[in-house]
Symmetry: C2
Subunit: 178 residues, 2 copies
């Protein structure tokens, strides 16, 4: 069984986080979460409108080389990641990954569990590194987590993101060898 | 008329470089050049096979927001660029651009003429900056030219490109405000 159990960090609610490969039945929950995050507008560049169901299905589950896992906490859908090739051809040895932690399950170690599993998945697929192309610099929880999991900031896109509350802010590119 | 005349740099063949918006009739030459450059394999990550005619047409001319110009030197096709949105939504204020100088016309100021025109085009479209996502670090002519045109290296993707002669080499992300 492709299941990983993670103890939540000390001091948080101690429900276990379970990870498993996504199935078609998970897509409705993934799509709802993705749409709510795009409406929030603080982490992804895409507009909610452009990320139709069809494009979201490609993005999270069906584009070539995409591996999608979901997290559950207390039996409920708690988050999702997808690992995929960052580029093809002469850059096809670098993976990319996207993550969302469900707002009802933040601060419980879900992001950490997703991030660790994404590294395992990318390793198992024989990628040489993982690159995140778009980490909004003011998303401090994410930046701190990725650093804790061994990622470095390898680039800073100046004023690359129109944040709904903070205006134009920098975007980091983060990278980790596998 | 949307035409720019550029004097070639002193010491090179002094043929003028003419730039104009691409038309559908230019695509055959653009596609042949793109394929030959992908076979050369030193600058773009894409494999020649994945860049079918259909995908190449999207890439250079038809994807939403794409503006393509061709350069001519001595009446012959000498190069091409396309300016496009780098991302959509909350990052839609940043342009991206791709360039190829025809091997028969290298060292004649064609790249410089294309680069200057791309800046003009992006400005006219009200972008706030241009970002190049994938400048192979050992492509010294390109790196030097982009620096001369006001671009800075804002990121380094470690071992991001499988160079056909040099193995894994770094890739630069370059950026310029408009």
């Amino acid at each position: 069984m492709d299941v990983m159990l993670m103890k939540a960090p000390t001091g948080h609610t101690s429900q276990e986080v379970t990870l498993r490969p996504a199935t078609p039945a998970d897509f409705a929950a993934i799509y709802d979460l993705f749409q709510s995050i795009l409406h929030e507008g603080t982490t992804y560049s895409y507009s909610p409108e452009e990320m139709t169901k069809e494009r979201s299905l490609q993005y999270w589950m069906e584009a070539p080389g995409t591996h999608c896992c979901v997290a559950e906490s207390g039996g409920k859908f708690a988050g999702v990641f997808a690992v995929r090739p960052n580029r093809t051809g002469r850059a096809g040895h670098v993976a990319n990954a996207s993550f969302i932690v469900h707002p009802d399950h933040r601060g419980k170690g879900v992001g950490r569990a997703l991030g660790l599993r994404a590294i395992e998945v990318a390793k198992s697929l024989h990628y040489q590194s993982i690159q995140y192309n778009f980490v909004v610099s003011v998303n401090e929880v994410a930046v701190k987590l990725w650093k804790a999991l061994g990622y470095s900031i390898v680039g800073t896109l100046p004023k690359g993101f129109q944040h709904p509350a903070k205006g134009l802010v920098d975007v980091y590119i983060m990278h980790r060898y596998l």
